[in-house]
Amino acid sequence: MIRFQGLNKWFGSALHVLKDINLDVAKGEVVVVCGPSGSGKSTLIRCVNGLEPFQEGKLVVDGTDLSAKNAALRELRMEVGFVFQQFNLYPHKTALENVTLAPIHVRGLSKAEATERGKALLAKVGLADRMNNYPSQLSGGQQQRVAIARSLCMQPKIMLFDEPTSALDPEMINEVLDVMVSLAKEGMTMMVVTHEMGFARKVAHRVVFMDQGAIVESGEPASFFGNPTHDRTRDFLSKVLHH
């Protein structure tokens, strides 16, 4: 479903932010990407839907080759949902309007169809009673759940999460993770950048550890957490697990 082959990316000419990335994500697989800040994990996930260009190597997502100059990015983005750290809801639209905007204008759904689908999804993320609220009237956790519903309303094949809980107050993290867990259990293909190791342990098929732009280690949660092979992984885990 997602295949990185020898991908390299530089910011400018000096800053080598992604170094020789090789990674496969199969259909229905949940891959958690972790690592210290500045390790390139956000950049990595942003490459998958073409938010970040890269200079070298190959990246194929759902049959679309992103290294090609004329890659059909818009068509790809219709199939790939993206959830941001800062939610990025449209502040001038209600929760329901946020969710139905792209289905109406990109998928060409009628307003009635989109509204029906949107209401069902907002109910699914536990916000049936908040549909007509504006983002500014919602808590961070509620906003992020709207953002997830917004992506799901396009019925994507892949969902990407870029630190979805990092901007949330601690008591709101679980309400968002719960939605993500149920999504993972439904068989959604997911790439999740997060520090929530509990989530990784529970639902990830694979955990990838990045440092300084390179993938250092990757493995199933049991072996990744139980017996990491690299010092840098161990060092990182000791920092995120023991607090």
């Binding site: 818009r74 790939v80 792209a102 990109v106």
Partner: protein
């Protein structure tokens, strides 16, 4: 003496009223055209086509950096020499629309740039085309941000319209010039003219102030 002049001035009210009407129609028409072109300028200025943005920027700076009177004279006196004959009214509307478009364009461009980058990224990620991103996500927010400064600019442009009296349009200012030939009391006559402009501008000032207050209290 003073009351006698006031009485005579009252006889001139049809001229003053006509002048007021001319100033209103001239400003309104120019602002309307200026908004449409200014929106286009703003989108281009904030857009990704570098050379077009730079070219538009140069054009805008050219008009922002030269006196409006000179622009009006060029429209009215120079354009005919290259075969474009214009009535004073058309020349006035063209000059003022153009100036409005330049100022409004820069304001709208600043508004577009002030919308957080995450907004266009979210819109882009959901598969919206660039034109849809602008129309549905970016512009509604950008216009909300710049609304107070936009109304402020409208007020300045209404007042700038007085410059156009120089090419013989019977607007409020020129009515004043005419009347003062007969009633030699400049303070009185132009006091009344000033009140005329204030009558047009005050509602706009009022609206702008309310908008600013609303923006400060809004939770956005």
């Amino acid at each position: 003496m003073f009351w006698f002049q006031v009485e005579r001035l009252l006889n001139y009210w049809p001229i003053l009223l006509k002048g007021l009407g001319m100033t209103i129609s001239l400003s309104l028409l120019s602002l309307l055209v200026g908004c449409v072109i200014g929106l286009l300028f703003g989108i281009i200025r904030a857009g990704r086509i570098r050379w077009l943005s730079a070219l538009t920027g140069l054009y805008i700076d050219l008009f922002r950096g030269t006196p409006f009177l000179v622009q009006v004279f060029i429209c009215f006196f120079i354009l005919p020499t290259v075969g474009i004959e214009l009535s004073a009214f058309s020349a006035g509307v063209i000059a003022l629309s153009n100036l409005s478009a330049c100022f409004i364009g820069e304001i709208i461009a600043s508004g577009i740039k002030a919308v957080p980058k995450g907004q266009s990224e979210a819109a882009l990620s959901s598969g919206l085309r660039y034109s849809q991103q602008l129309r549905l996500v970016i512009l509604p927010q950008a216009l909300r941000i710049v609304r107070p400064s936009l109304v402020g600019q409208f007020i300045l442009l209404v007042k700038d319209s007085s410059v156009i009296s120089a090419i013989g349009i019977m607007d409020l200012t020129r009515s004043g010039w005419m009347i003062v030939q007969n009633i030699p009391n400049g303070l009185l006559v132009f006091g009344v003219v000033g009140i005329g402009y204030f009558i047009i501008c005050y509602p706009m000032i009022f609206v702008a102030r309310r908008m600013e207050r609303r923006q400060q209290t809004s939770i956005l």
